[in-house]
Amino acid sequence: MRRFAIISLVLITALALGLVSTVRAQSDITICFGFQDLETEFWVAGHKAITETLRGQGIEVLEYNANEDPNRQLEQVRECIAQGVDGIIIIPQDGDSAVTIINEAQASDVPIAVFNRPPNDRSRGITVVADNVSATEQAVEFMAQQALVKWAVTGNTVQPLILVGALQDTNAIGRREGFFNVITRYSEKYPGLFAEPIEVATEWDAATALANLEAAITANPNVDFIFTSSDFLFPTIRSVLEPRGKWVPRGDANHVIMGGLDGDATACQLIDQGFVDATGVQDLFLEAELTMDRLLEAIANGETQPNEVLLDPGFALSAANIQFDRSDMWGCVLLDEGFLDQ
């Protein structure tokens, strides 16, 4: 009788535990979110959009900050897999490390999505990425139209300059391509409008950008058209242009036609103030939504190795449309929430 009672107790306990774990598996989803850093406004806003939305849906989010170390990020993803997470979202450090991390997750049958910074091989994993070429083209197109007006008035050739990002970053390469596509198109259509563009290396580092931009402007003081591959460099550009009397708003004869890409709060403020003419906006809210929806769909359908590329075409916010499209730009939303005052 005693033996029967013990066996019954063990069976009931096991059944209860099994039921609990089944219920937990059906109702609780755990997502591992590994990001390379939060050093720019874009990443801060992306992080906030993803974590708050997921938690709002009752999903547990395990956050890992790799502090710009791809090896650490790989270890963090392995840790997530060992913990049995249902899905992984990463913002990788670069395109190469993303490929390794995706392979690691898929080998363990954990669905994985990559947010905004695409892997060099996009055939595996869910990749949500802005179309950098398209977004850049839209911003530079607006800048080129401003250059055309200036050229028509003054007759002087416009000297373009691009601040290029890290050359191992596919986003940087796409932005460079978009810039040159527009400059080449306008140069062919309007010979004499643009001089040969000057390329300035930044390696996504403000100090490197400062040194090289200062050298470029000293060598070519006639630069009057600057495109930065990321909006976070606007304060650096300012520190170079201001002492030379070139940091002036639209309408001033010394105004440098200026644009960037990202659509951050600083860019929004500078468009408002007239210093910046246009910025290519990555639709951060759309990208975050696409990432989460597709990953959750894969988890619900039991897909362990979903492979898909989802593109955000982006748009250009310029001096001409800021009053209409302001609310669509994540940077303006942050600016209006007082982000730059925090």
């Binding site: 050093e39 050359l167 100090a207 400062l210 060598a219 304060p235």
Partner: protein, 355 residues
Amino acid sequence: MPKRRFNLFQFLLNNSTIVLFITVFVLFGLTSPRLVIEGIGLEFPRFWLPENMLNIIKQAAVFAGIIGVGMTFVLLTAGIDLSVGSNMYLSVVCAGLLMRSSGLEIIPALLVSIVVGTLFGAFNALCIVRLKIIPFMTTLATLVIGRGLGTALTESRQIDFPERMNAFGQTLLLGFIPMPIVVFGLVVLAAWFILTRTPFGRQVYAVGNDIEAAKKAGINTDRTLVLVYIISGFCAGLAGFILASQLGGRVDRSFGETREFDAIAAAVLGGTSLFGGVGNVFGTVIGALLIQMVGTGLQFNLVNLYLQPLVRALIIFLAIFFDSLREANLQKLKRRFIRPVESSGTTVPQPARME
């Protein structure tokens, strides 16, 4: 005594860094865009314009110069400080957070940055002198700790300094000398004075030459080591604040990253030995200027972005290579003159010395 003939090769080798410096200066000048002087039709290389020279000195000061001076002290004692970049970041983060939260003015904020940097250096010194952890490992650990602390304080977000920081960065002395150059000049002069005109300076060289011999000579080697790491920390705190003011008052997590390598390269290019006991601050100034001039020259000549790091590394490699060639040659010459040399060039046999 045999008459020594002027040996051009030897002369060039002995002054390899200066020779390379002048070569780079001339070459980039000749190939850079020209400024046409209206009226007389004369062309002048923009690379040689005073404006560009001031830019190069200013950038050399903030990127490698000031921390390079601190690094020279450390290298002279046969030590190394890999944490200066992280120290710059942490120091400026503390100053920036205080400026934002309590409205701290520029000079008190600068002092905060210097104090944090100095304390950081003192912590390195404590680990090296008291805990007997080798400098390489200590500063490698504090490199990670410093950046980690800064990241934790900022939650890895960028810090935007108040507008007055930008104005401070643009300050000109006498209407044309950028503020970082003045600070750099003062730091170099102070370092030169300390190293050449004070007992502490001589102790730094003595510790680097042979620490055991220095101890036997009665030098407090622990005190000397503590002070050099404190000086390095001081320079990092100062350089961090000045650099932040140059960047438009925005500091992100990558601030100061890999600056330690520029500082070490500047000191070594300037003739400071990694094994201690040899070097001076003026050499470091030349090294920092050379590194910066190469970067600026490549931009002036619109060298392909993919090739720029290669060319920069090649020039620095050449400088180090010539320096090692010079060292090897000097060693060879020292060996040759152990015994007197006859005019024919053969050595004179010496009687054996009785001990």
